[in-house]
Assembly symmetry: C2
Homo-oligomer: 444 residues x 2
Amino acid sequence: MTDLLLRNAMVLQIDADGGHVHLLHEHDVIIRGNRIESVQPTGQADPSHFGEVINVDGRLIMPGLINTHSHVPMVIFRGLAEDVTIDKWFNDYMWPLESNLQAEDVYWGMQLGLAEMIRAGVTSVADHYFYMDEAAQAVEKAGTRALLAWAIFGSQGTPMIERTREFVQRWQGAGGGRIRTWFAPHAPYTCDDGFLRASVATAKALGVGIHIHVSETMEQTQASVAKRGMTPVQVLQETGVFDVPTILAHVCGALPQDITLMAKHQTGIAHAPKTYLKLAMGMAPVIAFREAGIPVGLATDGAVSNNTLDIWESLRLMAMLQKDRAHTPEVMTIAEALYVATRESARVIGLPDDLGAVEPGYLADLIVVDLSGIHHQPLHSVTASLVYNMQPADVQTVIVDGKVVMRDRELLTLDEGEIVSQVRASTTRLAQRVPDQRIQSYNP
Amino acid sequence: MTDLLLRNAMVLQIDADGGHVHLLHEHDVIIRGNRIESVQPTGQADPSHFGEVINVDGRLIMPGLINTHSHVPMVIFRGLAEDVTIDKWFNDYMWPLESNLQAEDVYWGMQLGLAEMIRAGVTSVADHYFYMDEAAQAVEKAGTRALLAWAIFGSQGTPMIERTREFVQRWQGAGGGRIRTWFAPHAPYTCDDGFLRASVATAKALGVGIHIHVSETMEQTQASVAKRGMTPVQVLQETGVFDVPTILAHVCGALPQDITLMAKHQTGIAHAPKTYLKLAMGMAPVIAFREAGIPVGLATDGAVSNNTLDIWESLRLMAMLQKDRAHTPEVMTIAEALYVATRESARVIGLPDDLGAVEPGYLADLIVVDLSGIHHQPLHSVTASLVYNMQPADVQTVIVDGKVVMRDRELLTLDEGEIVSQVRASTTRLAQRVPDQRIQSYNP
């Protein structure tokens, strides 16, 4: 059993009720195994009693960030679908591009995206993609935490449900518990009701949740109502999806009755505002979700719409766009935004008592943030800087499950040089598009 | 006369008509004195003939970024006015805080902000603040380019017009031409018509332009129409402000007749979208401005609303928010966004033939950008990365007026340690607020 002393830190404390944040100064964080044992004033603990000591020198310790919805390996395609409508984005770019995908692309792409996220202080991701065995291998290697789900389409039929059932069982609890697995029918518009019901039955049997896209735009909602008299969220209710834990990606097209329905169930909403702006999808009503008691977590979505995997940017955009949409700066305060980024995001990925706080008993997924950069100076407000001034490069050290995965900006688990060279070797093949050769058609 | 060879670069070329961007590979940029002499394939120039050679090693050279509207020294107050309405922001925070301001605060604050901007690749700023002699001294020292304007209020009366007239004359052309000076009545809502007319007369006599806030929100526009039957933009027309060159900050509250009026005159609009979101001011209609032929430049505004001075973030937000507001991702393409960031921003600050392009005859205000960071990989699209993936730390080297001011992330003209320690020494005094002690009242 390893033990680790983080000495002399400023520690961000976020109240469990979401109302307040405060800072502890000159405190130590003591980690035993993979959990936080104690947060106590510096001076009480004897460094010589610890296997490893990191002198934090007054810098900030806060919970590692959580990306509640991404398609991480999609980084291999980033920059290839710009300035196009959502229909073209799917039909002429993304789905033709993904017909180039091979298992090994996912292995290297997942490592590339995990490296980018570690560098930005992201310690957990709920990922939703293809060839997820290779994604899981990459997570094992990276040492981070992940909730992995293999995206499947109704057109793939029952054999694909069986195949991903095996994936869920194969990887559940792997990486010493860092890896959890869920089920992932892609969306109501790509999965018919029978496929959704079969997915729910399998998820129930396995005791896992479902990670799914729903009502990504108001147009999708309207199309569903026109075609079948139900919103996409009502389709999830109707097909039993809400009988298991869920992560609902996006829900920009939520109607009031959808919010009531989601609030009744054990749902979490993943919020990826950069994608919504870039693809002009409309903005998800986070304030209305939260007022209804629905947990909302921060997300980046994939890098072909979000371009990066920077949760700091998602945090900033979430706060600013909610102010913008509410026509007042008094909503989505710094305290609330940080609560969403930490405790609420932990709740969305199903670990509310394990992640999102630097407190005894929580998992030791922590980051050390250096606020000495000139863009934070003079540091009148640490919490304002965390929401509005952060750059990924301000993250100095990253700890997941009690182990250091980045120390002083050096990645300890992944070989960036090898990853980049492996990914680059495939760029020409990956960038080819044969428009009629696509993995699905977008026609919600 | 110095001469400088930048060897083996990828060079960003932005067509003068705004339609296209392309890249030159393996090119040298030759600088003589403060201007670009040539951009030519690597191999033709003999490095031994140059006073200084920088091996760019395939990294990107592009025009230095331009911040067309800021209150740079306001960085000393950053983080002190969060989550409050615009009325409170002015009356309970900013204007009481600014009653603490001393000339020396501006000297150090300006250096702090210039250091932050150099690190982010910003080589020019149109600044609008107080104690501008000290701001000018800081620019002289930093080696950057600035269009400086001393903000004045109608309540200060004619003596202040005289005082800033002297400032304009004292500093015009200083720093070997890097410093230009304009006039800066604060806004129509803080300057009566007589004061605006007197400002125009003085600006005309000096042959300079006016940098002014106008129609910052639709509420300001409506209040002006209710009080006097004219929009704030119409007030500028009425008082002769459009008879001189202008930078109009914000104009979020533009009505169609305002757009027509601004298009008729030699105006430029400074666009600072982060401030608009954070203060819920509404979004300026950049696409409508540009369709009318009005030049728009990127800006950060001050750091108490924008929190940082990062023009990359302004660029990204401008592009994304225009897509969002237009309900289609097809507008404000990458090429157009980069055109706004470079040639159009140069036009807004009155230097369309000198800045904003890496071409022979242009001033040598250039940056070297390193796109090898993992958040850019694999680099399918350099131009997409510039708009959507950039972090300030990707800027490696900064050249202004032919001289290197940052090399390999090291600032060569400013002493960051001293600047930060000087600013920190005043934080307690600066952060005090006596609400009844304010420099102005906001009641547009």
